[in-house]
């Protein structure tokens, strides 16, 4: 069961990584980051079954940061959308050197 869960987690993480690398829509990239966070949570829970319940405590901290990131990230995306009328990250080059 551990190997299967870890493999699922690895697949999920790689799909998320690929999405962040390839897609240019800010919201899709954001969804892919959520996939990556979920993959890490899955790996932590899988290990906690064999190592101890502490792993699940870390899952809650990851979830807290994910919730905070969702709130702030989506607020940033929405205020950028109001300004540029688009969410394509290639257009956000104001801070680009």
């Amino acid at each position: 069961m551990l190997t299967e869960a870890l493999t699922t987690s690895a697949l999920l993480f790689v799909i998320g990584t690929f999405g962040v690398l390839v897609r240019r829509n800010a919201i899709i990239m954001f969804l892919c980051i959520e996939l990556q966070l979920n993959a890490v949570n899955l790996a932590l829970v899988a290990f906690s079954r064999y190592v101890g319940v502490e792993g699940q405590v870390f899952v809650f901290f990851v979830m807290t940061v994910a919730a905070a990131e969702a709130a702030v990230g989506l607020a940033i995306i929405i205020s950028i959308f109001r300004h540029y009328r688009t969410v394509n990250v290639d257009n956000f080059n104001l801070l680009k050197w």
Binding site: A5, T8, N38, T86
Partner: protein, 168 residues
Amino acid sequence: MEIPIHVLVFYLVALVVVGSACIVAFSRNIVHSAFSLLGTFGGVAALYVFLGADFVAAVQVLIYVGGILVLILFAVMLTHRISDIDITNRTVGRIPGLVAGAVFLGILVYAIAGTDWAKAREVAFEPTTAAIGNLFLGEYLLPFQIAAVVLLVALIGAITLSRKEIKE
């Protein structure tokens, strides 16, 4: 050879998780992506149940499905003009991304398959909620409090960022 039913269900759930994750990452329609995230989050919650983490599974449903997913759907509806689907989804750098992803997956699977995990205790299921509560209010009290402050700051920041500015 008879495959036990719980193994079969586990693989089915894992398939749902990976399949809907693929839709999230590759779908041309952003609304489809957002709704497929429901399958991923729900499937991961089911996997938590398989791994004996009851409280984490409940919290996954409450926070991710009930909170973050609704937030994301709101953001999609607010930023995306439903009528023009095509503009949302160009992909760039597909080949380098694919190579990087494949190499990374290879390394991860190699590490997972090659390691001799210590499978000392295949214990029977027991409730974890009390143990988690004790850890939060004992050993991890300071991180617990800091997490509360992080959430408060994030909420205030989100409100400040997304409100409309009214200039006098």
